[in-house]
Symmetry: C2
Subunit: 298 residues, 2 copies
């Protein structure tokens, strides 16, 4: 299987679904509706909605209930990037080679477009409640996971500790780094796979297994990021390596060394795949995708 | 009835409810949890949760389901103020005589605390789904209204058009001003009263009557604000008058003149009260509160 090609096909499908739910760029608030659309369409691998959809399929999920949540997830991921890029945060004018939202629309509109995307993610997921084919108990459970993993005990929590460590210039501890990795990147990956399982009607035991799998994958994904920043091929990565060292940013490799880091990526991935294999259900693409994410070269 | 005194008793009760739902200031993300609490406790009349609770009572609502939504509503109102005060927006260092959130915690934390409050509002409202005494269909309907009225077709939409008019220095049209008033201030007042009615189990016709009442009250409330900025007593208001004129800010009074504005406040309020009187249910305090809000002197 050509995972990269398959992923790109599924990513395009996910992008179409998100687009379908984005409001049309019209009316008095046209500017912000444009800024929301610009932010979402500025690119990205659409990993989170694809992971959600594939986990939904793993548990034989039926119908279109997952569409609302795929769209909501990508909106939340996008808002977090829009706010991350703001002058008071990372102050980035470019992301994936394109001007960031505040670079195009100004800082005030960058803040408001982020707010609007976060809010619209909930509006979108809540639209599933009006769908007569949707089981509202499942949708409610999925919505609770989405909210919790995106919030102060999820992604925002990780972001806060990361920002705080950078701004105060304090030496980061290994405990803090684990916390940041688990929440900042991990939480939305966990939520994506968990929501896929919940919406497909998986049992509580299976949902908890999926949480475990996705938590290991999220951590391995992040450590691989640190490794690529040292050993990656700039022409494949599409960005310069060595940025962590230049910014004196402590990473997993700083604490564990490069060899131990590679071992850890392998250990976490093996454990995740082994867990997944305990399920009677199979989704070959999901298996390959998880390994590809972790052992990727860009 | 001493409305002012009664309101302050109910506002304290509402504040206690919001506090009960705010997470404890501990753990790795202690700073942001502190910033969230600081923002919510920095004062305010707690009008929105009080209006929600009183509308809930008007329709004989029972139980504690409304508590989750009172807290969620105040968190959304608070996040909107925290983001409004940011340097890229109104750049205010003081609100109600106290340093604003970003003035205390820095700009990055101001952005993140706002995001966290918006997200936590949904987490809080979603906690009602786990309460065995809660009717999940009602809670879902209330949540949809909350999300819609807070978003780009509600409060944020009004805020965007307001910011855009100010930043571009364009002459504002009467149509735009109506749009801003209806959404920026009106939407959350509407949501508050509608959610109270929904959670109490009011009929669709009654919910729509309440939307109508609250829309008129929201508009009258805002026009009264413009009148007070011209004719108010600074010692009662607690802030200098004439700020709209100094900032060359077009208000309802700019278009209609002061007498027509006063007539409009009276017309809207009379209509709202008349509509409310069509209901067999009565809540004397709510009636007086609505009139007090509109004819207030501060």
């Amino acid at each position: 299987m050509d995972v990269k090609k398959e992923l790109s096909i599924r990513a395009s499908k996910a992008e179409e679904i998100v687009c379908k739910f984005l409001p049309a760029e019209e009316g008095m608030q046209k500017t912000i509706l444009g800024a929301m659309r610009y932010s979402v369409l500025a690119g990205g691998k659409r990993l989170r909605p694809v992971l959600m959809d594939e986990t939904f399929k793993l548990f034989n999920g039926q119908g279109e209930i997952v569409d609302y949540f795929m769209a909501a997830m990508e909106m939340i991921h996008t808002y977090s990037l829009v706010h991350d890029d703001l002058p008071a945060m990372d102050n980035d004018m470019l992301r994936r080679g394109k001007p960031t939202t505040h670079a195009v629309y100004g800082e005030a509109m960058g803040i408001l477009a982020g707010d609007a995307l976060l809010n619209y993610a909930f509006e979108t997921a809540l639209k599933s409640f009006e769908d007569p084919n949707v089981d509202i108990t499942k949708a409610g459970k999925a919505l609770s996971v989405l909210a919790k993993k995106a919030g102060v005990f999820g992604m925002i929590g990780g972001q806060v500790v990361d920002v705080e460590s950078e701004k105060t210039g304090q030496d980061i501890t290994e405990e803090k780094l684990d916390f940041i990795y688990e929440l900042k990147t991990g939480a939305l990956i966990e939520a994506s796979m968990m929501i896929g399982a919940i919406l497909a009607g998986a049992s509580d035991a299976d949902i908890s297994l999926v949480e475990n799998v996705s938590s290991k994958i999220g951590m391995a994904f992040q450590i691989q990021d640190d490794i690529l920043d040292i050993e990656g091929d700039e022409s494949v990565l599409g960005k310069p390596i060595g940025s962590d060292e230049r910014n004196a940013k402590a990473t997993y490799v700083t604490f564990a060394g490069i060899n131990k880091s590679k071992e850890e990526v392998k250990r976490l991935t093996d454990e995740a795949i082994e867990l997944l294999n305990q399920l009677p259900n199979k989704n070959e693409f999901l298996q390959e995708l998880l390994q590809y994410l972790v052992y990727r070269d860009n």
